[in-house]
């Protein structure tokens, strides 16, 4: 348990407070920038903005989740931290689980907060906003798990950062479909399905990412 907390404290310091490049602020600013640009591009058509704004917020959230991928696994692998953990009998699965949690903390709640001003920018009303927040709550843990998984698979590859972005996008489509789908009429089922996809990703990630890191050792 103390191992878990020690690892979590380090990961949070790295990812949340920006020990390396930007921290939690960068994805949030990127997210807000997309939400701000969209009305400029579409024009001042309030009903159209309100109708499509929810989907844009979801796409922005997905793209914002891609930004920190290259610093999730690769730096620790390069510095030899994973080797040292393995020597101490700390499994890759545990490290990855902690990392998913820290990664989610660093972009899930901040995105949910940033969704408030973003919704105002595209003119979304209260009921839609509630659905967006619930959807992000259900969907961002899955995005976090997917991000760590893909980061583990592409760690050590040349051009891994660009590749991981490309890998995340198709795999995140179910989250996007159900999450953004929950905004249309009768969308409660969409929320449940978003949560289900998230849970599946959370369950797979520690084992898949753990074995990816192990086999990357050669």
């Amino acid at each position: 348990m103390s191992t878990f907390l020690t690892l979590l404290r380090r990961d949070c310091a790295q990812l949340l407070l920006g020990g390396r490049r930007g921290g939690a602020l960068l994805p949030v600013l990127f997210f807000l920038a997309v939400a701000m640009l969209y009305p400029f591009a579409v024009g001042p058509d309030a009903p159209l903005l309100a109708k499509t704004g929810g989907g844009v917020i979801w796409v922005a959230a997905l793209l914002a989740a891609i930004l920190p991928l290259d610093r999730l696994i690769e730096p620790d692998l390069e510095l030899g931290l994973f080797d040292q953990w393995a020597l101490r009998g700390i499994s890759e699965e545990l490290v990855v689980t902690v990392r998913v949690l820290a990664h989610w903390l660093s972009f899930g709640p901040p995105l949910m907060l940033a969704a408030l001003p973003a919704s105002a920018l595209v003119g979304i009303d209260g009921e839609q906003l509630r659905l967006i927040e619930l959807g992000l709550l259900a969907g961002t843990p899955g995005l976090a798990a997917l991000g760590v998984l893909v980061a583990a698979i592409t760690a050590g590859l040349r051009g891994g950062a660009a590749l991981s972005g490309l890998l995340v996008i198709p795999l995140a489509v179910p989250l996007l479909v159900f999450g953004a789908g929950s905004l249309s009429a009768g969308g409660e089922a969409g929320l449940a399905l978003t949560g289900a996809v998230s849970l599946a990703l959370l369950a797979i990630t520690p084992f898949a990412a753990g074995s990816a890191i192990r086999s990357g050792r050669g």
Binding site: S2, T3, T6, L7, R10, Q14, G19, R20, P75, E78, L79, G80, L81, D83, Q84, A86, L87, R88, I90, R217, G218
Partner: protein, 223 residues
């Protein structure tokens, strides 16, 4: 099998398409030291990583049995680059439930507040040694421990190794630099060529555990 040491039987190693060495058996008693030599690319690092459990031996390898925990030091200090040295080391001492490492002995006392990324090559090596000492492992695997160190640092490594051996630890060192390891066995990986068939099986397989192709360390030191 001897208590407190290392026994490895019939190790084969393949990296990619290349067989590096084959049918390598090792036995090291407590307090023994083993100096791995050989030209670049003969598999010194691979052997150390195999023994550390970081690489899987190529079949049909035998078992690697350590009595006790082992620490591993290579060119990477495994410390967070942006953190001050003291904090970066504190992460490992907390993980190892160890006492803080006395940095004065390693010549790092004045560097406590300096971020790791500003350290020189030799200072990084010393920082890696600090992490290794803090781990408190029973045995050490050192990959080129003298790289980047000045003569003071080399002496420091030698005294640390001597201390570890006196405490009954097995120390394996891969180094191109001359290193004073009293009573150490020299292991040249060129003496363990991979099998000519390229399948990794056959060469020296019937040699079994005893005698190993070269008489290896037995019962040197205290322990």
């Amino acid at each position: 099998m001897q208590a407190g040491g290392l026994t490895a039987t019939e190790l084969f190693c393949r990296r990619g398409d290349r067989f590096l060495f084959g049918a390598l058996s090792l036995r090291a008693a407590p307090g023994a030291a083993l100096h791995l030599v050989g030209p670049n690319g003969t598999g010194k690092t691979s052997l150390l990583r195999l023994l550390a459990g970081l690489l899987r031996p190529t079949p049909p390898s035998g078992a690697i049995v350590w009595q006790g925990t082992c620490g591993y030091l290579d060119g990477r200090p495994a410390l967070d680059e942006h953190l001050p040295l003291g904090e970066a080391l504190a992460f490992w001492t907390k993980l190892d439930h160890a006492a803080a490492v006395p940095l004065e002995r390693l010549g790092l006392a004045r560097l406590n507040d300096i971020p790791v990324r500003f350290l020189s090559t030799g200072q990084r090596k010393r920082a890696g040694l600090a992490r290794l000492i803090g781990q408190g492992a029973d045995h050490w695997l050192l990959d080129e421990p003298l790289n980047g160190l000045d003569s003071d640092g080399a002496g420091l490594v030698e005294s640390l190794i001597a201390k570890k051996r006196a405490a009954g630890g097995v120390v394996l060192v891969a180094s191109h630099q001359p290193l004073a390891l009293p009573g150490a066995q020299i292991l040249d990986l060129r003496d363990f060529p991979p099998s000519p068939s390229g399948k990794g099986r056959g060469w020296g397989l019937d040699a079994g555990m005893d005698p190993p192709p070269q008489p290896l360390a037995t019962g040197k030191g205290l322990g």
